[in-house]
Subunit: 510 residues, 4 copies
Amino acid sequence: IVSEFVSAERVHGTLTFVLLGASGDLAKKKIYPVLWALFKQQLIPEATTLVGYARTALSHQQLIDQIKPFLKVKPAEEAVFARFAANQRYVAGTYDQLDSFKSLNDFLSEQEAASAPAGSRVQSNRVFYLALPPTVFVPVTHNIRAACMSSTGWNRLIVEKPFGRDSDSCAKLNEHLASLFNEQELYRIDHYLGKEMIQNMLILRFGNRFLAPLWNRENIASIQITFKEPFGTQGRGGYFDGFGIIRDVMQNHLVQMLCMVAMERPATIDADDIRQEKVKVLRAIKPLTLDDVLLGQYVASNIPGNEESKLGYTDDPTVPKGSKCPTFAMAVVRIENERWAGVPFILRCGKALDERKAEIRVQFADVSGSLFAGAPRNELVIRVQPDEAVYMKCITKKPGISFETYQTDLDLSYKSKYGNLDLPDAYERLILDVFNGQQHHFVRDDELTEAWRIFTPILHEIDAGHKEPIPYAFGSRGPEQATQWAKELGYVYQPYDWKNSAVAKTTSSL
Amino acid sequence: IVSEFVSAERVHGTLTFVLLGASGDLAKKKIYPVLWALFKQQLIPEATTLVGYARTALSHQQLIDQIKPFLKVKPAEEAVFARFAANQRYVAGTYDQLDSFKSLNDFLSEQEAASAPAGSRVQSNRVFYLALPPTVFVPVTHNIRAACMSSTGWNRLIVEKPFGRDSDSCAKLNEHLASLFNEQELYRIDHYLGKEMIQNMLILRFGNRFLAPLWNRENIASIQITFKEPFGTQGRGGYFDGFGIIRDVMQNHLVQMLCMVAMERPATIDADDIRQEKVKVLRAIKPLTLDDVLLGQYVASNIPGNEESKLGYTDDPTVPKGSKCPTFAMAVVRIENERWAGVPFILRCGKALDERKAEIRVQFADVSGSLFAGAPRNELVIRVQPDEAVYMKCITKKPGISFETYQTDLDLSYKSKYGNLDLPDAYERLILDVFNGQQHHFVRDDELTEAWRIFTPILHEIDAGHKEPIPYAFGSRGPEQATQWAKELGYVYQPYDWKNSAVAKTTSSL
Amino acid sequence: IVSEFVSAERVHGTLTFVLLGASGDLAKKKIYPVLWALFKQQLIPEATTLVGYARTALSHQQLIDQIKPFLKVKPAEEAVFARFAANQRYVAGTYDQLDSFKSLNDFLSEQEAASAPAGSRVQSNRVFYLALPPTVFVPVTHNIRAACMSSTGWNRLIVEKPFGRDSDSCAKLNEHLASLFNEQELYRIDHYLGKEMIQNMLILRFGNRFLAPLWNRENIASIQITFKEPFGTQGRGGYFDGFGIIRDVMQNHLVQMLCMVAMERPATIDADDIRQEKVKVLRAIKPLTLDDVLLGQYVASNIPGNEESKLGYTDDPTVPKGSKCPTFAMAVVRIENERWAGVPFILRCGKALDERKAEIRVQFADVSGSLFAGAPRNELVIRVQPDEAVYMKCITKKPGISFETYQTDLDLSYKSKYGNLDLPDAYERLILDVFNGQQHHFVRDDELTEAWRIFTPILHEIDAGHKEPIPYAFGSRGPEQATQWAKELGYVYQPYDWKNSAVAKTTSSL
Amino acid sequence: IVSEFVSAERVHGTLTFVLLGASGDLAKKKIYPVLWALFKQQLIPEATTLVGYARTALSHQQLIDQIKPFLKVKPAEEAVFARFAANQRYVAGTYDQLDSFKSLNDFLSEQEAASAPAGSRVQSNRVFYLALPPTVFVPVTHNIRAACMSSTGWNRLIVEKPFGRDSDSCAKLNEHLASLFNEQELYRIDHYLGKEMIQNMLILRFGNRFLAPLWNRENIASIQITFKEPFGTQGRGGYFDGFGIIRDVMQNHLVQMLCMVAMERPATIDADDIRQEKVKVLRAIKPLTLDDVLLGQYVASNIPGNEESKLGYTDDPTVPKGSKCPTFAMAVVRIENERWAGVPFILRCGKALDERKAEIRVQFADVSGSLFAGAPRNELVIRVQPDEAVYMKCITKKPGISFETYQTDLDLSYKSKYGNLDLPDAYERLILDVFNGQQHHFVRDDELTEAWRIFTPILHEIDAGHKEPIPYAFGSRGPEQATQWAKELGYVYQPYDWKNSAVAKTTSSL
């Protein structure tokens, strides 16, 4: 039914993918490998031309040498790789000179003309991926607009975060882009939207009759969205200090997850109907105040075998002394609409914690007037990473002669169900979407506006040092006060008998 | 919270279990083994006196010799068995002579006096298990009432089906028992009420917030309750012919399952509050007509290696020629209340089918105005036997790059979750309940009245030969027309990808 | 559809109504007038024999003279009255001598024989109305059972409160009656069950699609059931002091109203299905504690023109000095089931208040996540007396140019809708029900048991003087603390613009 | 809470209302009277300058003489009128010459300068009302944009229908306007959005807890939106023939009503949040096919005293012979979303019918598994005109001794509740909204796009003569087939006892 959602669009004409910043880390470690994966799975047309662009001059061979180490080409794939390599081009140029882009355009036009069937009037389609630092963002977009737009086919621009650092800077960025491109040409990446379980949300929520009628304040007591990393700033604390965990993770990734969990049913599954609903959820949220957040900052804990744990956040020499920059944050978001009034959405993210995990916990309310007082609660857990899973903690009779209630789970662990399924990387999905012209999983300008509206007031307060972060040990579960606060918000921590659970093998407690 | 539900009642005084019909098949194959299981697990008091009663004269040793082969005593258990054997008594007597029962009473009183602490005024409690043919039921109950009731403790009477064969005979039986005992003394056994998953229903339905609000006509499209046996009448067709599959299975076991699935929330978990709700469901059902049922009768199919399959039902020489007795039946029951109006309850049972299975299938409605047209439906399956399981067929995104809907399952298979759990036998639970004075899982007189009210009209019609059974092959899934009818009733048969399902290992398709 | 519910039963045979206590106040002021009303409207058979029985000897004419003043016979009705008078009989006798009842029986049998068609074997049906003080209740019922039962037709016994004064006395009474009659012969009157709006509850609640799905904890914030009288004990304080307002009004009338408001949908509209549901609601209520009630006692206030208001309750010389007997009570009842968990049921009753009124107020919850913050709440009001009405306070746009929310009402005032409708008296309905054998609006034994279970603990505490009543002025709205407590329980008092309301003409504020 | 919704905006600077087409019918009969009403109620600033513009040259006095007859100035209002007249200006000019508009602009600027406080830099705000035929629409808007925009304050443009006649023409119009103005400057009038009861919908639906949870497919069986006129084309059939009833009434007014009835709760009550939801509803509707509509055309019926009824539609000499233009249409619209899937929305409109009425009928489903089989249904009726009312048909016990169900109504008739309330005219509200800058009740471009998407296919078919209209008599209720079809769609016509209904006085049956 929704196969057209991702089906390969028939490309009428030539197709060129221009990677600006081709020699940078993102390009090498992420984008080229993704292009390789798409190519070898034949998810993109064989004839797609891939053009790297950066300041450094590189020969074709130098380019190949630079990217190949990151592609993990298997011996059996060498022939395919040879074809992939043959599709690579490279153009060196500046980011701020219009002439460089005119040259780039000339090059692209030549290539397009060359690959078009003789005598035909070709339609040339171009994707621009901006794997660039924010500093060159404005001139590059100007120059693309001025010099590099295909006039015969479509143009698509893939943009990476940061999308501003508060409402004002975001507004400026949005206006800048709107003055150059229309919204249908812009693909803003939040790679969480490319994750299997986040893409699954739409179907889980709106495709299951046993979930749709329950998804509201009447049945759900609280929703937690959690992101945990087991490592600290890894020596880049100085850079991180300019952002903090809220800008780094919460305001974008967690907010996107929140939207997918909380939004109303869209009119259709068209991209703009979905994005409209994401905006609508955000519009029902008031700007946060400092009372709605709890901040943490990790300190050294000296875990055996973990070198990084010997340093607290401010022990990093690149971090300003006495920095109050949060490396952990918990926020309580209230959505003032008919569906969610009264239900706390607890967003939680942090570095230097006990594990790597991203998950969504939907805890149901107690059964009203329960026959079984004190019985535990249902909880639907959607584990985003690692080890994708959906499971519902449910209550049964304790198996055997007794008649006690017992919490167990209805389980769908991808690993135990599907074995070693090779789920595609988030970027792989998203770049394929761009080829297909699918904007569903990209962020629209008004989503950014609304998200920044909610967070800007507290970010300014935090930037001004008005909120003290609570210290927590590297490798811990974060400040104990966060757990305490979650309880006060009605979340019930439930001891759980994991030993009989398939889920157990890959998870730990919250 | 509900631990008192089965907790061992403190027995004030002596406890005697009198098994009438001690030399019969039921006693030997079922009741003695159950008593042994309860004894060795110390679920009943060590000092319980177990008195067999039958017409044949037997010495203590003869009794032990007769029952021991069925107990499967392991070598390590011999010492325990010796104590169990020491508790056995045997009294021979008639079923229709009051004198025999006076003697029995004298014997019981002696035993009770002997086991009571010296000098104390003992309270004597007695359980009578009537493992007897219907023919002697009336005199035996008369005689127990007249001669064998303890006047110092409680008396409990366990009664086996059949509880009549239609409304009139049931009413007579109820009146007879009511004239002798009060309802609190009567324990009518339907052993399906002793099964793990049926006992689980109450907690599943009323203990899970994610199920309770969905359990109604708005969300559920149909409910199927199925009972299948892979063998025929096994040479006892003559006996079976007097009943037919509706009396044998549907009117009792399936109706009890229906009540557990469909009843309203009881006021409390007291036995009479629960039984009241079972009666209430039945009261909302109109008597069935012949249009509400489909009958089948198996014919020979000659399955390799299956000797019985060479004979159709009427090929059994003990079956009257041309018998129209159904060995398969499907009935559609309508519950006319706010919760269930419009939802078909499809009861289906049969002999000589393709497998052994008892299960409940709750199929949800399509998502209304679904974004994903044609997506499959949710279905909650509760497998009663074999291999207890609860699983919810649910819809997810097909794992991987595509965005199609995909049916998988949230699974709780007892075997894969709990390993080789040794679930207690239904009789074991039920007899323990009698010791504990728990009537929850026993059938009250008005339940019988209502169940017969529903089935009597069609039974009389069928007895009169007014409905032709459809022939079906031994070992098949029953008449094809039954499947067709289920589809017309809105049940959607869904092809299901079992290979990735833990559930798959133990189940087959419907 | 439910016309058979009250349609006149075909009486096979003779029909006799025996009124025991025929010379008492209840008989003269209530029962004879009701019989007259039924007779003249031809709701009971013309040939019904009406037999008065009391200790005083009375001639037929004396009886007629005694009752006629209360019948308000209009001139045009004299001919009908003559026929009514001709049907009257009178028998004098004791209440405690069996011989008196044997004589009564002989008299009844004679009458029945006389009125039966010649030669036919008549079926004689008898109604006994016990308009008697509790003191003679036991001997009279014994004697009726022993001497006066018709053996050819049915016998029905109408019994008036009090039905005990606590759990123990009620249990004794129930056992006494159960030993003499079966429940189908007993008609216990709570005349609130005969009121138009209480009888309406069943249809309002279960016949309206726009109410049924709302009738639960999700949508309703609180329910108040109020009974107010504008007069005090009127010189009979000594008698009242033995009961108090809880036994007088709350434990019976308000509890019956509560049952009708809160019960689950019955399986059918058969009397026992309905009464079963009333019992079920009560079973979900825990016994009250002193913290669940607030008591009041009125003091003098000297309202101009109101002589009684000059005396407080304890100023009545028949009341014991320092009596703590409550003349006002408010209780908060919690129903622990799926429908009502968390919703306070506020019962409130009192004497010497500002007005006469009985009503039920169902206040809805705020709209969740309302677009119109601070908008008033919906409230469904069912006014039982005086001036029957149903109205829903609802929110509209303020009519005119503005876009403010405005509380108005959807109104069904019987007076403005139907004009001066002559609604039948509660007793009239109930006695007609007895003739028809309809037990729907009579109280079953287990209802009493459960109602007393809830109130007995606090009644014993109050009897023992453990709860101080709060003084309130005669003619006031009761203790201010009651209003305060209702607010704390979540009831929102809403200023209401009555001037445009049809409802307004007959009502005052809560 | 929502008082700012209509509160008078503080106008910073001068305010000028320019009425283009000042000598036309719309201006004289509608716009000038509305301006007068606003002026005399002081809802617009005293100092507002009102400038008429048209081709005819008129002196100030001629203008006043032309408009005054339509204002119904009462004697007591003459002084106020004098002030109103003093505010009038008039400029004559062409519609297609830029120079005319330059002159107009010069005039406006002069006036603004004159009315500004000396020495201050004034902010000039201008409203342009285009009371013009479609033929001059394009040049006029061009010229306003080119010559008449205030550069110091805001400019607002009020536009009247038609907004195209199908998808293509609408798209052209939208693009034209979008190239000249931004959406915040455009106020497209559908005067139904100015009606009291349509404005009430938002509060009724989202402000009442007793309605919000019922407003869906589970509880509502069908919704009818009806518009009836008792007169025919009144001699302008030739003009009407170019449109037909669908373009004239259904595609705009009825669709706007549909949106208000069916839309989801908006995120806030901001204009664009509301309009977004209206678009969302329309997006869930598939384009209609000819099977979804039924057409009618009136024929002569010769009603005594009704001269027009002597002529059928095609009897009008200005109507082409054999015209198939519909004067009556019924359409069934399906909204494919979670709330409305399966609920038919029945739109019905016609000329030459039995009465004048616009109303919305929300018929509830039967109570599921009703205790009272055959009882009538609830129906919420919102009468838009004439005689505004909201009433809920509900079911009660028939008052009196019987226990039958009875349909009555909970009633809010504005006339009986509020007396002769002088509700403002739709235009009055809407023009005031323009002064206030409130766009809530104006139609956004994408609403038009979606509405035309739904109707264009059938309009083209009808234009091509592919659907035969059914003849119906002038003054009848339209084709009988429409009633029949409504029944097939599940609408239950219910005989209703009007004599006791306050509603009855002003209404007739559907």
